[in-house]
Symmetry: C2
Subunit: 135 residues, 2 copies
Amino acid sequence: MNIGDVAERSGLPAKTIRYYEDIGLIRPHRSANGYRCFAETDLHKLAFLARARALGFTIEDCRTLLGLYEDETRASADVKQLVQEHLSIIETKITDLQAMRDTLTELVQCCAGDNRPDCPILRDLAGESDCTQGA
Amino acid sequence: MNIGDVAERSGLPAKTIRYYEDIGLIRPHRSANGYRCFAETDLHKLAFLARARALGFTIEDCRTLLGLYEDETRASADVKQLVQEHLSIIETKITDLQAMRDTLTELVQCCAGDNRPDCPILRDLAGESDCTQGA
DNA sequence: CCTTGACCTTCCCCTAACTGGAACCCCCAT
DNA sequence: ATGGGGGTTCCAGTTAGGGGAAGGTCAAGG
């Protein structure tokens, strides 16, 4: 298969696939004309990577996961631990974003949103006041 | 004030403050010796930026917000709209992360996490099976 | 007067994970 | 032979700074 075919079948852009080769995640063969020549196993790996990336794993996590996947003697505990660490990073991000959302929601509710300049959001950012009353 | 003082008082690293000058968010004066010389208004702006950044606004958002803050003829509607757009980006991120979390949580629960190689997480990433049973 | 240490300056490279574009090659159909 | 749609490499840019080098400045102490 050429890169266009695996791109379509894996759902990854060709650019990304070349990048993954660059950083050593995959090693497709080359045809006589210099084109990358992908086997089914390469496509399989790319699909694996696409799914792992979609679950938010970093590239380095993906590298590790791929290594574990190919290691028939792995311990599932190693996989589980990696995933749990990733999960806790995600939980932290969610918590942080929720805090932002809550604050911003409150600010938005306090702002008249008309054509007058008075704005509790800007006052808050300037540290001048709480949201519910004027400066 | 020198940069160290405003760094401490604004909570921003000196590096960040220099960067903000680089990209035109602030314009501190210079002393005769070439040192940046910050007025209270600069410190005020930096605190504004620190708070806006902590709420997840991009640097470009911050630039716009600062412009609105300094524009006495602004309409609060413009501020509100910017914040609402930012909010919807945050909501999207939260939703995405929650979806990842839910999937990963399910996968983790299915994995024995022992020293055997059999791992439903890897099977899932490989697209081989659902989580609750072997391949 | 000299030194020491803390502070400041600019400059350049590095990060993550790609994306866009330029310049060029290859293959097939007309 | 030529046009279009593949493919190739390499370079630069993205966010929001961080790390560190090489060097100027200032105040205190010996």
